[in-house]
């Protein structure tokens, strides 16, 4: 309408809008040009000459091009609405208060970075109970912790102090920050954006740390892949995680197809621009996978709130300080290894690096670099004990050891405590879903360290229901990524996480892990689900049925034992089956290490194998 008249009454057609829109818009006040200063000078010839350039009123335009005034009103308003974008005032929000417009700094709103669909999908998985979230925030457990923020703080406050010790190299906090910013820029140039997942398959090297921090600075999410993983596992996890690319060793690049990049390929000479926004504590930064791989990947999305609150609250419990040097024998691809980094970075302690565990190497690094805190699995200590390394090397620098990853024999704890005289040998129980749930504290009685996994970490609640340990707290993940079936099984109706571990609690509140209800094998702290191996064996030409169960091992805790029913009394050897699985690109740590041929399997009515009835011959 214009002056109350409808478009039909005005006679404005689409053809008229298309024909005169441009002319009306340009002749109107929307574009104004003035030569000299004619009005102030009352220069009438110039005023008349420039009248159109200075912008005509609707009636003047109407008379000029042969439309009614009302038609011009309608056309001009239509054109203004059609052309003017809304939301442009957003550009002004960065101006004033000492900041001025700089053309070269302006990025059009539509070109400003956002989250990809994959990133939003992952972020959507971070759905916590709002009441619990409020509680954690109010209590200060969830704060604005990010690894980027922690490293920046150390770089600012003690930038010259040592952050990483790797072989003969010592890296300061400032240097670590610089390197991570350059790697972040490299990722940025490779097309990685906020919220994207980046897979990392690297040993415990400086490159891992720089890559991790670079990914975090960019606001991306790291998905670790254990070093033994090969074709089948890599393909499944890359697909499920929707990883944009993978950072890997040169020798492994081909395993990732076109997605693999070496650290050197991504490293960059210039740091990431400060204009690229950093992460906040609510952002996801880790996507880790539990034992399930090809069968049914259970991706665990973790944000800074959960992981870093757990580390920050844990540091004083472990009595760690900035003067400590933390060494992890556990791989950084495992959350227990990452916990060593998180605690070190929370407290400002230096990290001592051991690229990959070998008993001799661990002993040598401890002797040479003199770490004060050691993150280790029972299997590591057992291996060192078997080689007599505690008597051959100096372990006296240690004043804290945290053992975790698998069931810890009491005699092993006692042995280690005897050998490392000034070291508090503690136990920790954790899961990928929560990091550090229980631990003993320095100062606890030796029996507590030897026989229990200790008490809940700050901010953690536990309960035992039908012998099963259940957990909730500020450390707990919100649910598996893209796996509703697993989520339905993992949480109780009232929001507790069902760990699948069996436990008992004593009067002092110390928890002993008594067994495991989950069907996974824990080989030296690395848990895996053997279903994909079983699936491959099931199609072997000589095998009729196959089932893999854990068998006790004094060093690794557990190994895989294969029960098999062969076809028509065919002979089959363990070596033959191992070779077959290697050809199928199964990781070595998942290979069966014993074969038991049985005439038949115990089966349920629906013909599922009842693994609990498979007895390993002595």
């Amino acid at each position: 309408m214009a002056r109350g008249l409808s478009r039909a009454q005005l006679g404005v057609t689409d053809a008229m809008l298309a024909t005169f829109g441009e002319a009306v818009f340009r002749m109107s006040h929307n574009l104004q040009v003035r030569e000299g200063d004619p009005i102030r000078r009352l220069d009438w010839p110039e005023i008349d000459r420039q009248r159109e350039a200075m912008g005509l009123a609707d009636g003047q335009i109407a008379a000029r091009i042969g439309l009614t005034r009302e038609q011009v009103m309608f056309i001009r308003n239509y054109e203004e609405s059609r052309r003017f974008k809304t939301g442009q005032t957003a550009y002004l929000l960065d101006l004033g208060g000492g900041r001025r417009y700089r053309q070269e700094r302006v990025i059009p709103l539509e070109q400003r970075p956002g989250y990809s669909e994959d990133a939003l999908r992952l972020r959507a998985a971070l759905r916590f109970d709002p009441e619990r979230a409020r509680l954690y925030a109010e209590r200060g457990w969830w704060a604005d912790d990010t690894l980027t923020g922690w490293i920046a703080k150390h770089a600012a406050e003690s930038g010259g102090d040592v952050a990483v010790i790797f072989a003969n190299e010592k890296i300061s906090w400032r240097d670590l920050q610089d390197r991570s910013l350059k790697f972040a820029e490299g990722l940025h140039r490779a097309g990685v954006a906020r919220g994207d997942v980046v897979a990392v398959q690297l040993p415990n090297t400086l490159e891992f740390i720089v890559a991790f921090l670079g990914i975090c600075r960019l606001g991306a999410v790291m998905c670790t892949l254990h070093m033994p993983y090969r074709g089948a596992e890599i393909e499944a996890l890359m697909r499920h995680s929707r990883a944009r690319l993978a950072v890997c060793l040169p020798a492994s690049k081909e395993l990732f197809g076109g997605s693999g990049r070496t650290f050197e390929e991504l490293d960059c000479d210039t740091p990431l621009s400060r204009d690229v926004p950093g992460p906040v504590a609510a952002d996801p930064f880790l996507l880790l996978y539990t034992s399930g791989t090809t069968a049914s990947p259970k991706g665990v999305p973790l944000n800074y709130h959960t992981m870093l609150s757990n580390a920050r609250l844990g540091v004083p419990e472990h009595r760690l300080t900035a003067a400590d040097r933390v060494l992890s024998a556990a791989p950084f691809t495992h959350l227990f290894g990452l916990y060593a980094l998180h605690c070190a970075w929370s407290g400002g302690a230096a990290s001592v690096l051991l690229p990959a565990f070998k008993p001799d190497d661990l002993a040598l690094v401890v002797e040479k670099q003199r770490p004060t805190a050691l993150w280790t699995a029972p299997a590591h200590i057992a291996a060192c004990r078997a080689m007599g390394l505690f008597d051959k090397h100096d372990w006296s620098s240690l004043r804290l050891s945290i053992m975790s990853g698998s069931a810890c024999p009491p005699q092993l704890v006692k042995f280690f405590a005897e050998k490392a005289k000034n070291c508090a040998v503690t136990q920790l129980w954790g899961m990928t879903e929560m990091q550090a749930g229980l631990y003993t504290r320095p100062g606890d009685a030796p029996e507590v360290h030897a026989n229990t996994a200790g008490r809940p970490s700050p901010g953690t609640e536990i309960r035992i229901v039908e012998n099963e340990l259940q957990v909730r707290g500020c450390l707990l993940f919100p649910g598996y990524f893209d796996n509703e079936e697993a989520n339905a099984a993992a949480f109780t109706a009232d929001g507790w996480f069902r760990t699948g571990d069996l436990a008992a609690i004593d009067a002092a509140g110390n928890v002993a892990i008594t067994g495991r209800s989950k069907d996974v094998i824990n080989r030296g702290g690395v848990k895996f689900n053997p279903r994909d191996v079983e699936d491959l064996l099931a199609v072997h030409p000589k095998i009729l049925m196959a089932a893999i169960v854990p068998m006790p091992d004094p060093v690794l805790g557990e190994k895989a034992c294969l029960f098999a029913v062969t076809k028509e009394n065919q002979n089959v050897s363990l070596e033959e089956l191992v070779q077959y699985l290697l050809e199928k690109q199964i990781a070595k740590n998942k290979l069966p290490e014993r074969l038991v041929v049985v005439p038949e399997m115990p089966l349920t009515p629906t013909r599922k194998i009842i693994k609990g009835r498979l007895k390993i011959p002595s």
């Binding site: 818009f25 104004q32 009103m73 239509y78 002004l92 053309q103």
Partner: protein, 292 residues
Amino acid sequence: MDAQAAKRQIAEYCRKRGALAVGVAELAACERIAPPGHRPSDLFARVKSVISIGVGGQTQGAWQLPAKAMAYSGSTETRAYGIAYGLAFHLEQAFGAPSVYVPPDLDPEGGPRVPLQSLKLHAELAGIGARSLAGDILLHPEFGFMYYASVFTELELPADAPLAENPCPAPSCVAMYRQIGKTPCMKFCPAQCLSGEIDAQGSQKLMRYDMAACAEFTQEYEAVPKILAEAVQDEVRTRGAEGLLDPDRKMLWYKVSAGSGAWFAQCFECMRVCPIATQAPQADPILRNKKT
């Protein structure tokens, strides 16, 4: 009372109430320059004089505000309107001359970008402001950036002449233009809606103002209907939303938008960097106070 004495008395009335500048525009010039429908006589048929009042703009502190706050803390136009409103009554009571406070509002026939009257034209012809390179925003050599209001009266008053000199561009702006081809207002305009030329004598040669680009940045009058249209999954450019955006209804949206506080009247960035607006002798309220 003779016309000159009446004019002095009117100026005194305004200054006592906070006006920095008062002038009388030549009616015939207003009538000749303003387009039909927007001439003083189109609003007030028996008008004899056009009185223009200018009040000081921002405080010095206000220039330091973030852009999002300038539109609220930086505007003093209501003060000018208040003086003009009172002056209209005063003219009737003191001189018996029917008078009207000129509504500083928009012409509902023309949509939200067409004013009823050009207060700028009145002030320029009354000699209390000159057009700048910053989109013709008026500047005064003594008072810098001002807000204006007008009164039409049947009282016949002697007209003032426009300013003899235009303070824009300031010498520092000319120097900058000579170096980079832009004055500060051109360089720092976030919509890049300003361009122009300065001649060899340091005077304005050409002023180009893309008002559409400026308005797009600072006057989201269509925000509400566009949001509504987007909310119902319609395209603004189709007939479905057209009814929300026709000139008559857009005035409603203008009122709603203005009332909601969700838009900027102007962004002030060109004035923030203008040495005349911020540093003219009487533009700075702190310095103004010291001089008095």
